[in-house]
């Protein structure tokens, strides 16, 4: 029986990490902040994959490893599996989660005043949300690279709790 972690603690930690990196450490360099957050996720994914693959035979090909991420790895992290997996069979995989746990409590900030202000609140909100997605992207990339699959991972938000991760395997 593994040890349990309070879900709200993890949520708060993630929120706090993102806000520290974006607002105090690298306040004016969102790219650098994103890269740092992604790197933390990479290390976490790297270590988690070592633990979660302990009792299973080695993977024969990339698809098996991706399936492992979608099923077992995702269940360990979020108590659910990826809802939809698409691939073009040429090294690109789209992992769609219809209710991504780390986004379920995300709310769009109420718009302060006029909607046609210079910086659109809509884009600002989506920027803030995408900041929170660098961490899970890093986790996926870390896990896959530890399994011997170098790749690039990006995230797409369609409508809020749903989100999809695009994995591009480097050849």
């Amino acid at each position: 029986m593994g040890r349990e972690v309070s879900e709200s603690c993890v949520d708060s930690l993630l929120t706090e990490m993102v806000s520290s990196y974006c607002n105090s450490f690298y306040a004016n360099k969102p790219d650098l902040a994103a890269r740092r957050i992604e790197a933390i996720g990479y290390q976490v994914g790297h270590q988690l994959s070592e633990r979660y693959t302990m009792d299973r035979p080695r993977f024969g090909d990339h698809l098996e490893a991706i399936k492992f991420i979608c099923k077992d790895f995702w269940s360990e992290l979020f108590k659910k599996q990826i809802d939809n997996l698409k691939t073009n069979h040429r090294g690109t995989f789209v992992l769609q989660d219809n209710r991504f746990r780390w986004l379920t409590r995300m709310s769009v900030e109420p718009t302060p005043e006029s909607p046609d202000a210079s910086d659109d609140p809509e884009s600002k909100a989506s920027q803030a949300t995408s900041m929170h997605l660098y961490f899970p992207c890093g986790i996926i990339r870390g896990a896959l690279s530890n399994l011997g699959i170098p790749c690039a991972v990006s995230a797409d938000i369609s409508n809020l709790p749903a989100c999809s991760f695009v994995v591009r395997i480097k050849v």
Partner: protein, 143 residues
């Protein structure tokens, strides 16, 4: 009796190697471990030879030499564990069991946030746990 255990990274870089003999033969044991890496590569890259144990983490007996037997284990993350023993009749089950425990000790060690992936494992706790494991293996199979 287990005389040597080693952890080797995915680029065949040594992560941890420890011998458990009183005699001054560490170099010889290191040489044996080094040779066994080729056998691991051969097993993994020739799926035909592997037969029913295809893709299993436990690789079984890699090769016997005059005084030693060498066993191997390859994790999903391409980390190799090599074990050299002087015992000539060891049950595969016991070996599997040992490697499973060893793997979990290894996982605990690399999950330390201060451990740098791909670098040597310097944790004292890891060394202690490994030597306890090695000692308990010797006593359980002798009994």
């Amino acid at each position: 009796m287990i005389v040597c255990v080693a952890v080797v990274g995915h680029q065949n870089n040594p992560l941890y190697i420890q011998s458990f003999t009183d005699a001054d033969d560490a170099l010889k044991l290191h040489h044996i471990v080094h040779c066994s890496l080729d056998v691991v590569d051969e097993r993994v890259n020739n799926p035909k030879k592997a037969g029913p144990t295809l893709n299993e983490t436990f690789l079984g007996l890699l090769y016997p030499s005059e005084n030693f037997k060498v066993y191997g284990y390859l994790t999903n993350t391409k980390v190799k564990f090599i074990l050299v023993t002087t015992e000539l009749d060891v049950k595969d089950g016991d070996m599997r069991n040992f490697f499973r425990k060893f793997h979990s000790v290894y996982v605990d060690a690399v999950s330390n946030p201060f451990h740098v992936p791909g670098k040597k494992i310097t944790s004292k706790t890891f060394a202690e746990r490994v030597s306890t494991l090695v000692k308990s293996f010797g006593s359980s199979s002798a009994a």
